[in-house]
């Protein structure tokens, strides 16, 4: 087993390779190099990022990189899919952070796949993509920092969680501007971490009632919703 942790994209990112090989360090370098490149391109905190320049009107969509165009187009698809609860549009332009983290990890996983690695996990601030062998992934307990609420067992999956127990209630219902009510966290599992992350953000912003109805209808993705009244609701296929 080989592990590297770096602080990138504003969060700790853990890459774990189950089978050690001679090129581990080079592979870590290439994964974190990609993530730093994503940060430089997409960060809303960096004045010279493409996203910041688009926000100031200095860069048109036509001039933007393929990656930026793809991510912003995907954000629009996700906005439609989620009834507007995932929305990258902000007063200062656009903030695709809700998709970028998961998407960047999906692409990082592709780097590991291309290097022939078949057993690894990447954890970016609690959003995880893993494959190869049996992985046991805990879902953070929303009220007890040192506990988990549930354990997922799978061998090839993406898992994203959105919740209010961290950083206050930073997720808001884009329709009302209010923090969601009756809900502590939403965990989404599925094949694609970017999509799972966006779904989790959207479902959490919906609040308890709408989130449970909406997640029950997802196709290809499963959901576990923890409500403020202590109920834990899962779709039948949740691992």
């Amino acid at each position: 087993m080989a592990i590297r942790v770096e602080h990138v994209m504003g969060m700790p990112v853990v890459v774990e390779l189950r089978d050690e090989a001679a090129d581990d360090e080079a592979l870590f370098d290439s994964v974190f190099g990609w993530l730093r490149c994503v940060d430089a391109t997409f960060s809303t905190y960096k004045a010279d990022s493409e996203i910041s320049r688009i926000g100031r009107g200095e860069l048109t969509m036509e001039e933007a990189s393929d990656e930026v165009r793809y991510v912003l187009a995907r954000c629009e698809e996700l906005r439609a899919e989620t009834g507007g609860y995932f929305d990258a549009r902000v007063p200062s332009g656009v903030d695709p952070s809700g998709l970028v983290k998961g998407w960047a990890v999906d692409r990082a996983a592709a780097i590991l796949d291309a290097a022939g690695r078949t057993a690894y996990a990447i954890n970016a601030g609690g959003d995880i993509r893993f494959r190869g062998g049996s992985w046991r992934i805990g879902i953070q307990h929303p009220l007890e920092p040192q506990a988990v609420a549930r354990i997922i067992e799978a061998d090839d999956l993406a898992v994203a969680t959105s919740g209010a127990y961290e950083r206050g209630s930073h997720v808001r219902d884009p329709h009302t501007g209010q923090p969601p009510s009756g809900i502590l966290s939403v965990t989404i599992t599925g094949p694609d971490l970017g999509t799972a992350d966006a779904y989790a953000t959207a479902a959490f912003a919906m609040g308890a009632t709408r989130a449970t109805h909406w997640t029950a209808r997802l196709r290809g993705y499963e959901a576990l919703t923890i409500l403020a009244d202590g109920r834990v609701l899962a779709t039948p296929g949740f691992p």
Partner: protein
């Protein structure tokens, strides 16, 4: 909510091409037809299509002909699902969510933790950090 459902069903009924589908009457005793309407815009709620199974019974007595039609099944293969109202209406078809009570496991045997732990400070305080420290030890 009852009023909302009535309004919705009203829209569905208007969208159906029921009359033309049933107009092709023949002098058979019993016929069963499955009719699917086109995808129609259900006002601002999105697209909807309805499939009906219709049983038609024709009774001929001399020159007197009596026809009865009965809808034996209704399914909705295409439906809107992006508003509370639509979701409420569609709830009949929802798979049940499993339900349990929130529990805390303090010494779990796990590889990683999924959570909204985004800041470095929170990470340092988290079970994830402890787990990582244990792995690196």
């Amino acid at each position: 909510m009852k009023k909302a459902i009535t309004a919705m069903l009203g829209t569905i009924a208007i969208a159906l091409p029921v009359a033309p589908a049933l107009a092709a009457a023949k002098k058979t005793i019993v016929s069963i037809k499955k009719v699917t309407g086109p995808q129609a815009v259900a006002d601002r709620w999105g697209y909807v299509a309805v499939t009906l199974v219709v049983k038609k019974t024709t009774t001929i007595v001399g020159t007197h002909k009596k026809v009865t039609r009965k809808i034996t099944n209704v399914t909705v293969p295409v439906y809107p699902n992006h508003t509370d109202r639509s979701v409420f209406i569609n709830q009949q078809a929802l798979p049940w969510l499993t339900q349990e009570v929130l529990q805390a496991q303090f010494n779990p045997n796990i590889n990683m933790i999924s959570g909204a732990t985004a800041t470095s400070y929170a990470f340092e305080q988290s079970l994830q950090a402890a787990l990582l420290a244990a792995k690196k030890a």
